[in-house]
Symmetry: C2
Subunit: 276 residues, 2 copies
């Protein structure tokens, strides 16, 4: 059975791959088997992975919202857009969760010109800059030009002292984060130049996909019990991660949810953030 990927590529349907991603949602083996059975029946030659994903999402949601939310991560990251602003805040939160101090959107004067830096993070006296590349389109990739220009930016900044967390901070490390993928050239240049990358699937461990599974750092945009407009309101209230709603219904009241809906959202959030 041939299916069509997001990229337009045609590949064989791989039931193992679908099973693996369904298992990651937190659903039980029996539930996953049930869903697989239903989907297999509905497959047809040339069906898109998007359609398969949508069917699986619907079936998972019937079982438990939190499973669907976990399965929904990639789309949840994309829903942080269309501008890059909330993605930058989300990336800052990931570093905060690892014990960094963070600030977003700071303009620093380099040797040659001034630069707007998306995220700055400090731990143990080391300060790093993080350039965030948010793509609204699922198939957009960050090519080698991104690490090339970021590296010049870093070099322009690194020999100067800046007022960031203290009066005399120096930027000693450089990261680039994207919700999609990097090209292999972008990865090669970054490695060779001593820059670190974070993407949907890079590095192999501790990427956006796995960080969320391990530390439950799911963005609120993953939740299935809220509308898009309600998620946007939460983002504006500076609620970026689902876990920020655990034991905290204030923001949900502020955006005008009924007590019944608040109960549903909190149930999903609690199930989703079991790693806490």
């Amino acid at each position: 059975m041939k299916i069509v990927k997001h990229s337009g590529d045609i590949v064989d349907f791989n039931p193992e791959k679908l099973k693996k991603s369904l298992m990651k949602s937190g659903a039980s083996p029996a539930v996953v088997e049930g869903i697989l059975r239903i989907i297999r029946k509905e497959l047809y030659e040339g069906i898109s992975t998007k359609k398969i994903y949508k069917k699986a999402f619907g079936l998972l949601k019937k079982e438990a919202n939190s499973h669907a939310a976990r399965y929904n991560l990639r789309a949840g990251l994309q829903a942080l857009g269309p501008a890059g602003f909330f993605f930058e805040k989300y990336i800052a939160r990931l570093f905060t969760a690892e014990g960094y101090l963070t600030v977003t959107n700071l303009i620093l004067q380099g040797k040659c010109v001034s630069h707007e830096i998306d995220v700055l993070a400090k731990k143990d006296n080391a300060v790093m800059m993080i350039e965030c590349k948010f793509h609204s389109r699922r198939d957009a990739v960050s090519d080698v030009k991104v690490p090339l220009y970021v590296f010049s930016r870093f070099n322009d900044l690194k020999d100067k002292q800046h007022v960031i967390f203290s009066l005399k901070d120096t930027v000693s490390k450089c990261w680039i984060a994207t919700n999609n993928r990097f090209t292999s050239d972008a990865i090669d240049f970054s490695k060779c130049s001593g820059m670190s990358l974070l993407s949907w699937d890079y590095p192999k461990n501790n990427n956006l996909k796995t960080k969320n599974d391990i530390d439950c750092l799911y963005p609120v945009t993953c939740l299935t019990t809220l509308s898009l407009a309600e998620k946007d309101k939460l983002l504006v209230l500076d609620i970026l991660l689902a876990k920020e709603l655990v034991n905290n219904s204030d923001p949900l009241e502020k955006i005008g949810l009924s007590s019944n809906r608040i109960k549903n959202v909190l149930k999903e959030v609690t199930e989703l953030c079991r790693c806490d």
Copy 2:
């Protein structure tokens, strides 16, 4: 009288500016005064500079094709698109005219990754790389990210020996050329980093505008006696500059022009390339 610029900005109509650009076309002061008189009568509140330009172009063309061609330079550069391929060749020709050896589109291996270089030019044993940024849209500018990524490219290449013109060339200089403009940040960073820029109006002297006036390096796309399709055919035949047609009607025959039309084109070319 208020007029609307390409950028959407609204400014006062400046007859001096129009007069200056008409004079540069090579038309006599009497002709220019005549055109100005006609255009003044046809102006209305909120007319676009594009419309004014079109009227002036039509009136110049009635006088002499070569004047209109000269006036047509900016649009002629744009007509080298929509891809950047012919703009790169055109830029190579400008350097050839200054006594450089040039090659276009070469892949060179740097310290970290390989890079596709648009133009390489050699004179007196110095080799420079030229990155070309072609914009189809008139108001697109090259911002600071361009010199930032090009500078990393240059740094990745400059310490290695390459097989370009000889077996052991080193790239010692870096240029960026665009048909439009650079932002002030792009200019500041390039100056500070030792890179050279070439744009429609930068540097103040010897930019694309003035290079053409002094050395008659007009692209064939400026010509008013050829259709767009015919110009494209000339580009494919590797005829980039109008002056390449002086005393050379072969390419015009090859693209299928009648002897009468060839006469007209050669007349325009000869008048246009009087600097030779």
